[in-house]
Symmetry: C2
Subunit: 122 residues, 2 copies
DNA sequence: GCTGGCGTTCCCGTCGGGGGCAATGTTTAC
DNA sequence: GTAAACATTGCCCCCGACGGGAACGCCAGC
C-alpha cells in the first residue's frame, strides 16, 4: 500500500510516517516510480509506535520495541531492551508522580496563604 | 546594578534576563551608555519568576505575579489574577496526576505481561 | 489531453529557554 | 595606556514531533 493508505488505516498522517522513516523507525521500500510501498508489517510497526506514544513514550523510546518487531517477534515487548525501557519508564513516572505531589501541595499551601493574607478566611 | 551582577546574584544568566525583558516580564532602565540598570525591585521580580518556574509554571503564567509585584504589592500572589493562576495550576496538576497514575498502572501491567510471556514468573 | 488527487522533496514554523558566536562599545584595574 | 572583563545588539542554532505549504512528478478517469 502507499503512504496515504497506511496513514489513514493507522489513523495518522503521511507527515508522521515520513518522520518515522527519517528517524530510522520505519523502513519503506520504493516502487519504480519512487512511491513508498508498505505492507502489513509496516502497519504493525506504526501501531506499536502509536500505542507507546499514547502512554507518554518519547519517539526514541519506541525504538527497542520497533527493533524487536523487526527482529521477527510477535510482540514489540518480547525483547530485553524493550523490557528495560518499561522499567525505566515506570521509574520515571513514579519519580514524576512524587514530584508532582509535592508541587500540588506547595501550590495548595501558596493559595491558602495568599487567600489568608487577603482576609478570605472562609 | 548591571545585567551581569543581577544574573549572578539571582543565579541565572544574562541571556535569560534579556529573554524575560523581550517577553515583557522585566523592564530595564538604561544608563546614558545604553547599559541596563537594575535595582532591588528587579531582583525581586527575577526571584519570583524563578520560584514559579521551579514548580512548573510556564513563563507566561508568571506574568500575573510579576504584574502584581510591579503594581507595588509585597508579594506576587497578592492579586486576583495571580490567585486565579494558582487555582488553574492546581487543577492542571491534579488532572495530570490522575493521568500519570493510569499510565503507571498500564506500564506495570505491560511489564508483568511481557515478563510472564518470557516465563519470568517469579 | 486535461483535471484532480495522489505522490515526491525541501524548507520554515511551532514552543520554551536559552547557547554560542560576531562585531563593537565601555568600564575597570594595574 | 592598555588589557581584561564586562556590556550592547543581532544573528543563527538546538531540542520533539511533527504541520504547512511550495514546487514538482505520476497516474487514473473522462
Amino acid at each position: 500500500m502507499r503512504i496515504g493508505e497506511l496513514a489513514s488505516t493507522a489513523g495518522t498522517t503521511t507527515k508522521a510516517l515520513r518522520y518515522y522513516e527519517e528517524r530510522g523507525l520505519l523502513d519503506a521500500p520504493r516502487r519504480t516510480n519512487g512511491y513508498r510501498d508498505y505492507d502489513e508489517s509496516h502497519l504493525r510497526v506504526v501501531r506499536e509506535i502509536q500505542t507507546l506514544r499514547e502512554i507518554g513514550f518519547a519517539l526514541e523510546d519506541t525504538r527497542p520495541f520497533v527493533d524487536c518487531l523487526r527482529a521477527g517477534y510477535e510482540e514489540g515487548d518480547s525483547c530485553p531492551d524493550a523490557i528495560a525501557v518499561y522499567r525505566r519508564k515506570i521509574a520515571e513516572v513514579e519519580a514524576y508522580l512524587a514530584q508532582l505531589n509535592v508541587v500540588r501541595d506547595e501550590l495548595r499551601a501558596k493559595l491558602a496563604d495568599a487567600r489568608m493574607r487577603r482576609g478570605e478566611g472562609n
